[in-house]
Symmetry: C2
Subunit: 338 residues, 2 copies
């Protein structure tokens, strides 16, 4: 099973990323050697997916100390620049806060700052890989056999340091020889489902069918979907889930047809400081994402657009949350976090 490797180090310690905005047309890698370069890559979604954003920010922060020792203030300023790129993903802030603590400890102890930051970033990435595997095992156990999984956006290997979150149970079942197939919402406006999810599943040999987002409700009515699994950008303490725009409509349709709706995410996605979904900031993105695509107008010039990047699915529509620490009812996640 061949999974993509969306992030890594170059030999001289720069950050190498797969430019996901060019998929599936081109598989092109960028070598980024500045904090600003990594921040730009996160902001423009060249690197995306909540867990991978955390990893990219951590790896990007190491570049602040790449040319020699710097002050803790300089590290924190770099972290602030990286943290300002995407407001909704909680992993981003979680990873940067952890990197800042490590920087402070290294400076206090007189350790080499660059190496300390790199070790911490590697640890975050390695832990993410292990978390994905545990989510995969927990989800595969929950599903228990052959399955057709409907998913939205991309919460796969391209979104994480490992085999993904929502797609981890799929890959785990596939690797175990189960018959598992995926129906992938294309996920407008940026088409992460058709561009990314279909691409990585195809490479891994998992059968995938792409549908437009408006087809999900009809497909759920068709009766062949075992369950829905989506990722999460932030989970509030009460179990409300912020995820890619369009998730909420899928959850409503799954409920209407009695299809289980699962959220798969590392426990670092749970934000105990946010009591419920109303407290989750929702990033508004540029009109151009909706009005045009690769230079072609999809709407009249100057058309007004409403383009929230995420929506909130209320806890009552979530059947269960699949985490690296096991499967929980949404109402229980507040106790799991931290």
């Amino acid at each position: 099973m061949t999974l993509p490797d969306p992030i890594g180090w170059t030999r001289d310690g720069a950050v190498r990323i797969l430019d996901q905005t060019l998929l599936p047309d081109q598989e092109r890698y960028l070598e980024l050697d500045t904090v600003d370069g990594v921040a730009e890559a996160i902001r423009t979604l060249r690197v995306r997916g909540a867990p991978l954003i955390g990893i990219a920010a951590a790896m990007g922060l190491t570049l602040s100390a790449r040319r020699g020792p710097v002050s803790l203030d300089a590290v924190c300023a770099a972290a602030a620049a990286l943290g300002a790129t995407r407001p909704t993903a909680v992993n981003l802030h979680w990873a940067l806060a952890r990197m800042e603590r490590r920087a402070a400890a290294a400076i206090a102890a007189g350790d080499e700052l660059g190496q300390a930051l790199r070790d911490e970033a590697d640890a975050i990435r390695e832990e993410d890989r292990a978390m994905c595997a545990r989510i995969g095992a927990a989800g595969a156990h929950l599903i228990g056999g052959d399955a057709v999984v409907l998913t939205h956006c991309n919460a796969g290997a391209l979104a994480t340091g490992g085999m993904g979150t929502a797609l981890a149970p799929v890959y785990t079942l596939h690797a175990a020889g189960r018959r598992v197939a995926v129906v992938a919402d294309e996920t407008r406006p940026l088409l992460q489902g058709s561009r990314l999810t279909a691409w990585e599943l195809g490479r891994a040999g998992v059968p995938v069918t792409v549908i437009a987002d408006g087809m999900a409700a009809s497909r759920l009515r068709l009766g062949d979907i075992t369950c829905v699994i989506v990722g999460a950008d932030r989970i509030a303490a009460n179990g409300d889930v912020a995820n890619k725009i369009g998730t909420y409509g899928v959850a409503l349709a799954a409920r209407a047809h009695g299809v289980p709706f699962y959220v798969a995410a590392p426990t670092s996605t749970i934000d105990p400081a946010t009591p419920d979904g109303a407290g989750i900031p929702i990033e508004q993105r540029a009109a151009e994402e909706v009005t045009g695509w690769r230079g072609h107008a999809a709407a009249p010039a100057g058309a007004r657009v409403w383009n929230p990047a995420f929506d909130v699915t209320p806890a009552e529509l979530v059947t269960a949350i699949i985490t690296d620490r096991g499967v929980f009812a949404p109402g229980d996640v507040g106790r799991v976090a931290g």
Copy 2:
């Protein structure tokens, strides 16, 4: 208020259509002088929208007798070719059956066949224009004042011989000086909402906001939508409604948020011969509509796609059906038809 004119006659009796596949980039008109040319235009959605398809087929059928008298068999063969273009729209078959009856009567009476067909096509078009106006009046009365209307696909002037079906109440309220705005689902895969609905509303001076289809549920939760109004391609005798794919998910979200969900359609859209939605044939369209757009890959080469053009919204999710004969509960349409 400037509305587009999507179909007309050329001076020498050919059919002039606005090529809707090129909007909003280009406003280009085609002059079609053969039945096959009109059939191709319907099949490829250069002309689309259930009422306009009926008009286009009727006008196209006149071309079978344009070069002089032909047999009834020839007219019926041409009608069959036009009727085979789109399986779901009931107006298409309704209009063609009416044209065939007129052809038979003209031949039996010794009338000039070409003129008889042209008169009948003009009558169908003129009746459609009047029906749109009546739907507009009925819908405006139902809404009763300022409104924000969410719509899916395009059931406006570009879909009919008049001011549209779903958009007719909007235009009627706008012309009466009410503050009315529209939130338009872009409507993947063919983007009739962002390309067509936003274009014609903008020309008419009605404020419009474009959203991706996956945003509709979130927008309905926001609380500023007065009602949803969509068109219909076919309404079964029990009130089940076939309309553009994605309509059903919007109906589920409207129900979840207590927002009225209206269907606006001429009574010719009601098919008393189809008892319920299960009997409505759903056209499956080519994978390429989903996997690419204007030459760019939106999915990996060879990706499997499920691409139904329509879905069925069950009658129980429909608040009311706005027709040229007034507003009806969905369960009552079986008695209205015919």
